[in-house]
Amino acid sequence: MILFKDLKVKIDDKMIINNFNLEVSPGELHVIMGPNGSGKSTLAYTIAGHPKYSIESGEIIYKKELINDMSPEERSGNGIFLSLQYPISIPGVKNIYFLKSAINSLRKFQGKDEIDTIDFLKLVRGLLPLVGLDESFLHRSVNDGFSGGEKKRNEILQMLVLKPDLSILDETDSGLDIDALKIIAEGIKNYRNEKRSFILITHHHRILDSLKPDRVHILIDGEIVLSGGAELANKLEKEGYGWLRKKDLND
């Protein structure tokens, strides 16, 4: 699905991602953990094509195509979805219009006609219960005045509407109470299948208990220093990142 080769990424002349190498195959869910400032969100933004992040060297190959210079819209059209750590609010724009614009932009990219309004409403109404939201939510402005949990659910709702092939979920589980976490985890779990891939950025092993990741990677200073299975997440939760830094120094 996606392959990173010796990726180096700069922001404001500061190198954040260093020699990043990773391959995520269709159907896989990979987890990236790491201390604050290790480059996790930078990686997420770089995959989505945020213009502030410039690729110094290396390659991002998505569906066998080099996408280093592809615009964010095109990446989206090709099935890359980023759930933001801090979703942006757009006052005055109703959620429902935003969703409709997004789905119609995708359909335009795919050469399809705009979605019929009734079909669209049916689709969205069907998905709302999966993220535990009611219809009034559609008529509020995008993320404007939403609680932290509502924002994250809204991101998952957008994912379910747009049906991406690769979902990058940047701390989608942060700041949620137990019930909300359960809803989000269920939402992701139900969306998983053998064709869809996920890169999940998180600090907590909690969400991993139900999601069963294929691989867990530890990112420090923009580089994967250790990879392993789900047990790695448990070890980190208990012991922190200190032992990894020491290991680095010893090497």
């Binding site: 989505a48 213009p51 502030k52 990446r75 989206s76 005055g92 614009s101 995708l106």
Partner: protein, 478 residues
């Protein structure tokens, strides 16, 4: 999506920059008593009106241009402007007699008079430069007793009504530009809705400045008699020219007991090019008088054009329980400057006013909201709610808000809210990540921002307003 790309996105085209080749009857530039006499004479005006004009001219000569607005423009030489211009053929009975070139112009503007006649049920009084060339639907309106005609015609046909109300809302010496208009006004629209009558259709006027170096000084007078109701639409465009043209109109509205006037404007005068060259100077005095109890006057404006806009549609709330409303969207892009707002003067008891304004600045545009809410001593239990929102697109534009609040009454309640927001890179990236192009994202965000005002516009205008915003803010850059 840095600011440069945002700025590129904002490059716009002005679609109405064509001129029409028709024979014009134009006075040479200059302003003196003789010019006023010629104008009056050309229109066969009665002597009282000529004297009224000359009186205004005397007052105007003693006045100076107001300088308090936050706008900059080179000094206007009033002797270099021609004060009358009209297509040569006139006195037309039906559309067939209208110069086909003029009709073509209207079609380019997207006002198919014929079509409107049949489909939309909108009566159009089209003002081309200074003379009203065609009025449709007159007969249907006449059946309801509604008078809708050019101002010149009203002067001749309904002199008593004109005499009674002309200048009764905006006095001659109200301000410099109103005084100039009173002296030289060329034409405009006149509306009278009789008692207890709901005007059977929406009335509409299109203004267009075509001739070179002419000022347009139209005058509109709308009287809604007791218990009547009318919705009036006004749209404006002008050709592209390097010179600046002056537009100084006066609009007077009078609402008697229980009468209701809704006045909607979509102003798209030529704004000048991307370097600030050319464009219309728009100095307009619009005022409504809620003279009767429980009367209501509502202004809705979408201001996307003009190089300079100086405009404060106001309501004087004289009648008890009268209501004044002002809904405004103003856009200033490139080097456009807009100083606009409203005045709500509460005089009667239990009067209510609502002000909702949305200012959008882009490019080097400068936008000022200037509003006054005055609650007089006798206006017991008066209420006002004001909300002034500004949006900035890019980092070279400005937004300024000057609310003046004067409350002389303890039982009154005033609320004022103001916000400033910008379309940020983050919002555009968020939209892009969801596949929404920059153009669509700006349009989505701006339309969302303006929703509270757009929903006040009549249907056909709401569509036009949205399209205009797209032209004004997006251009063709993909």
């Amino acid at each position: 999506m840095n600011n440069d790309t945002i700025n590129n996105q904002l490059d716009k085209r002005y679609e109405f920059g064509f001129t029409t080749n028709i024979e014009q009857d134009t006075l040479p530039p200059g302003l003196n008593e003789d010019v006023i006499k010629i104008i009056s004479n050309k229109k066969n005006e009665p002597e009282w009106l000529l004297n009224w004009r000359l009186n205004a001219f005397k007052k105007w000569k003693k006045m100076t241009e107001p300088k308090w607005a936050k706008i900059n423009y080179p000094e206007i030489d009033y002797q270099k402007i021609s004060y009358f211009s009209a297509p040569k053929k006139k006195n037309l009975e039906s559309l067939d007699e209208v110069d086909p070139e003029i009709l073509k112009t209207y079609n380019k503007l997207g006002i198919p008079i014929e079509e409107q006649k049949m489909l939309a049920g909108v009566a159009v009084d089209a003002v081309f430069d200074s003379v009203s060339v065609t009025t449709t639907f007159k007969k249907d309106l006449a059946k309801a007793g509604v008078i809708f005609c050019s101002f010149s015609e009203a002067v001749l046909e309904y002199p008593d009504l004109v005499k009674k109300y002309l200048g009764s809302v905006v006095p001659q010496a109200d301000n410099f530009f109103a005084a100039l208009n009173s002296a030289v006004f060329s034409d405009g629209s006149f509306v009278y809705i009789p008692k207890n009558t709901k005007c059977p259709m929406e009335l509409s006027t299109y203004f267009r400045i075509n001739a070179l170096n002419t000022g347009q000084f139209e005058r509109t007078l709308i009287i809604a008699d007791s218990g009547s109701e009318v919705s009036y639409l006004e749209g404006c465009t002008a050709p592209m020219r390097d010179e600046n043209q002056l537009h100084a109109a006066v609009v007077e509205l009078v609402a008697l007991d229980d009468a209701n006037i809704k006045y909607s404007t979509v102003q798209n005068w030529y704004p000048g090019d991307e370097n600030g060259k050319g464009g219309i100077y728009n100095f307009v005095t619009k005022r409504g008088d809620c003279r009767g109890n429980k009367s209501k006057i509502s202004w809705t404006q979408v201001e996307t054009g003009s190089a300079v806009t100086w405009k404060y549609p106001s309501v004087i709330l004289k009648g008890n329980k009268s209501i004044g409303e002002f809904y405004s969207v103003a856009v200033s892009n490139n080097y456009q400057q807009a100083d606009t707002g409203t005045k709500m003067i509460h005089i009667g008891e239990n009067t209510k006013s609502t002000i909702i304004t949305k200012g959008i600045s882009a490019g080097h545009g400068q936008q000022t909201y200037r509003g006054e809410v005055k609650i007089m001593k006798k206006a017991k239990n008066a209420r006002n709610y004001s909300q002034c929102d500004s949006m900035l697109i890019g980092d070279k534009c400005g937004a300024h808000t000057f609310p003046y609040i004067d409350v002389k009454n303890e039982s009154s309640i005033m609320e004022h809210e103001a916000t400033t927001s910008s379309i940020g890179e983050d919002q555009l990236f968020y939209c892009a990540q969801r596949g929404i192009s920059e153009e669509d994202a700006i349009s989505l965000i701006v339309n969302g921002f303006c929703r509270d005002v757009f929903k006040e516009l009549p249907m056909e205008f709401a569509m036009e307003a949205q399209q205009l915003m797209e032209v004004s803010l997006e251009g063709s850059v993909g």
